[in-house]
């Protein structure tokens, strides 16, 4: 048996045991459904291990040489290439993607821009109080899931955050309080006990609750309101007591808080609320943690920021980074691209139909390892190995801690890592 880090989600669990015979994984111990599914993708019936090019409206198997020549042809005929994805690739591949974008004067963005990257953007002016998994395990006594269904998105996180005993918490679940703020009774509610609080907030009323909490906590005024955002006075009182008395409270920011509004920025106001609570709470503090699901979503932010000084949405011109206010969404919506290179993601499934249609209307190159809706419209498909199983790579856990993923098996013959594929594209383009 060997112990590995799992790349099934952004928790990157470090306690997974696998047994391999050198060719396949025979046994997996300790993984959740997502982790097991990740290992099973090795031999999934819909895994694709041959490069393909669309000919006569059908994807047909071709050699790597032919596929890369087609990529070169598409890129050479492009003046506005778009690169997107990278949240399920290693940091090394992300860096190669950035290098490619620079080389071909492209625009590059990661999935983070439509997910948890929004929280980091909201924190640019003010800073943000983040925390790590180790801090949560060792210290936390209050966990607040705000629009976050952890049980479905990062399945083992509650095991570690809620049920584990830490260095400074010799008791586990017994002293930890969980509060869930969500309009829907999600699977995460199943872990609640008598002491915990379920707050069924009205849809899209989070801003009302945040502003109410900010006012009451900063002024220490009595609650006169009977209801805020659909929540009763007693629940509101209990929430304030928990927030202001926690020794180490953590707010898990979920997708439910990411909907934009032209009149306010709920994320900025949440960050401000945390600052207000921490200025009032003398014995403890509240931190935020972000919950991007893909195993290296937050990695792109770090790689891009470290090497290019900008965490996402980078536009290159004359091989240098130039200013832009565009994002992947505006670029596609405005038809401001003439081909795309998609890496490890499925925008045709995940984007609104009108964006998918626009993306599919231009030549599309896909680097991935399985069937997807994006594969169905791709002009070139380049099969990649599974990072953390068939190749090494660095990934950033959801709490911004870098974790080295190990190779445990060889990929199928001819299948390369995302990093190697991107490097080969750069070489091919450089080769005149």
């Amino acid at each position: 048996m060997m112990r590995i880090n799992c790349s099934g989600c952004s928790l990157l669990c470090d306690d997974i045991l696998v047994n391999t015979n050198g060719t396949i994984i025979e046994q997996v111990i300790g993984a959740c459904k997502k982790g097991k599914q990740r290992m099973d993708q090795l031999n999934a019936k819909n895994r694709i291990i041959s490069p393909m090019i669309r000919k006569n409206k059908e994807l047909q198997k071709v050699s790597w040489e032919e596929a890369l020549n087609k990529v070169k042809e598409i890129v050479k005929n492009s003046s506005k290439p778009l690169l997107y994805g990278f949240s399920t690739t290693s940091c090394e591949a992300q860096l190669k993607g950035l290098e490619l974008a620079k080389r071909i004067n492209g625009f590059i963005d990661s999935n983070s821009i439509i997910c948890q990257g929004k929280v980091l953007n909201a924190a640019k002016d003010s800073g943000i109080t983040l925390t790590t998994l180790a801090e949560i395990i060792n210290k936390a006594d209050l966990l607040i899931l705000w629009g976050a269904n952890i049980a479905d998105s990062i399945p083992r996180l509650l095991n570690k955050a809620l049920f584990s005993r830490g260095k400074f918490r010799l008791t586990g679940r017994e002293i930890k309080t969980i509060i869930i703020i969500d309009p829907i009774k999600t699977a995460s509610f199943e872990v609640m006990q008598m002491r915990d609080t379920a707050l069924y907030i009205q849809s899209d009323k989070d801003i009302d609750l945040i502003r109410f909490l900010k006012e009451k906590i900063s002024t220490s005024k009595e609650i006169s309101e009977n209801k805020i955002a659909g929540l009763d006075k007693e629940d509101l009182k209990r929430l304030i007591i928990n927030l202001t008395n926690a020794e180490y409270g953590v707010i898990f920011v979920g997708q439910g808080l990411l909907r934009p509004n032209p009149e306010y920025n709920v994320l900025k106001e949440l960050i401000e609320l945390v600052r207000v609570i921490n200025s009032k709470n003398e014995k403890g503090r509240i931190s935020l943690t972000l919950l991007g699901g893909h195993y290296n979503m937050i990695g792109f932010e770090h790689v891009s920021l470290s090497f290019y000084g900008k965490n996402h949405s980078l536009q290159f011109s004359d091989n240098i980074l130039i200013k832009t206010s565009d994002t992947i969404v505006s670029k596609v919506a405005n038809d401001d691209f003439d081909c795309s290179i998609i890496v490890g993601t499925d925008p045709i499934s995940n984007f609104p139909y009108f964006l998918s249609n626009k993306l599919a209307s231009k030549p599309l190159i896909l680097i991935d390892n399985k069937k997807s809706a994006t594969m169905e419209v791709a002009d070139v498909f380049l099969p990649s190995s599974l990072t953390g199983i068939e190749c090494d790579g660095l990934a950033y856990r959801f709490d911004h801690v870098p974790i080295q993923l190990k190779k445990i098996l060889n990929p199928p013959n001819g299948v390369l890592s995302d990093e190697e594929i991107l490097n080969n594209i750069i070489k091919k383009i450089n080769n005149k």
């Binding site: 993708q41 409206k57 929004k118 849809s203 909907r259 994002t327 969404v329 499934s349």
Partner: protein
């Protein structure tokens, strides 16, 4: 009837799993679906065999439906998929997955297959 759609990730209805291990039939069965509160189920006059048609400014989609007491009245919960994204759009520069207002009606019209949804894109453009 006007309702609100929320699109979420569901571990038991995961498109990556279906794309990796399933087929076009399981994709549709698992992902072309919406969960509704029993009161809305009654208000819409639904029976198990009926589908629901969701429409808004962004588009329309026909899906199957399941009664679920956990869903708040007036809401429909859908897994992320190519079906749910027929009715999503962009507001203030961001893709909207939550609190989408839709008009809901029962229908016996068929649910589009995965290949039909892809054909809508490919035939239009390639």
């Amino acid at each position: 009837m006007e309702m609100t759609v929320n699109i979420v990730r569901m571990i038991e209805r995961d498109q990556i799993e279906e794309f990796s291990f399933g087929n076009d039939i399981s994709l549709k069965e698992k992902l072309a679906i919406g969960f509704v509160n029993p009161k809305d189920f009654d208000k819409l006059g639904l029976v198990k065999s009926l589908h629901i048609k969701l429409s808004n400014n962004y588009g329309e989609v026909i899906i199957s439906q399941v009664r679920d007491e956990k869903i708040p009245e007036g809401s429909i919960l859908m897994p992320v998929s190519i079906w749910s994204n027929q009715i999503t759009g962009v507001e203030n520069g961001s893709i909207i997955y939550k609190n989408l207002r839709v008009e809901v009606e029962p229908t016996r019209d068929p649910i589009l297959q995965f290949k039909d949804l892809i054909a809508k894109i490919v035939i239009n453009n390639k």
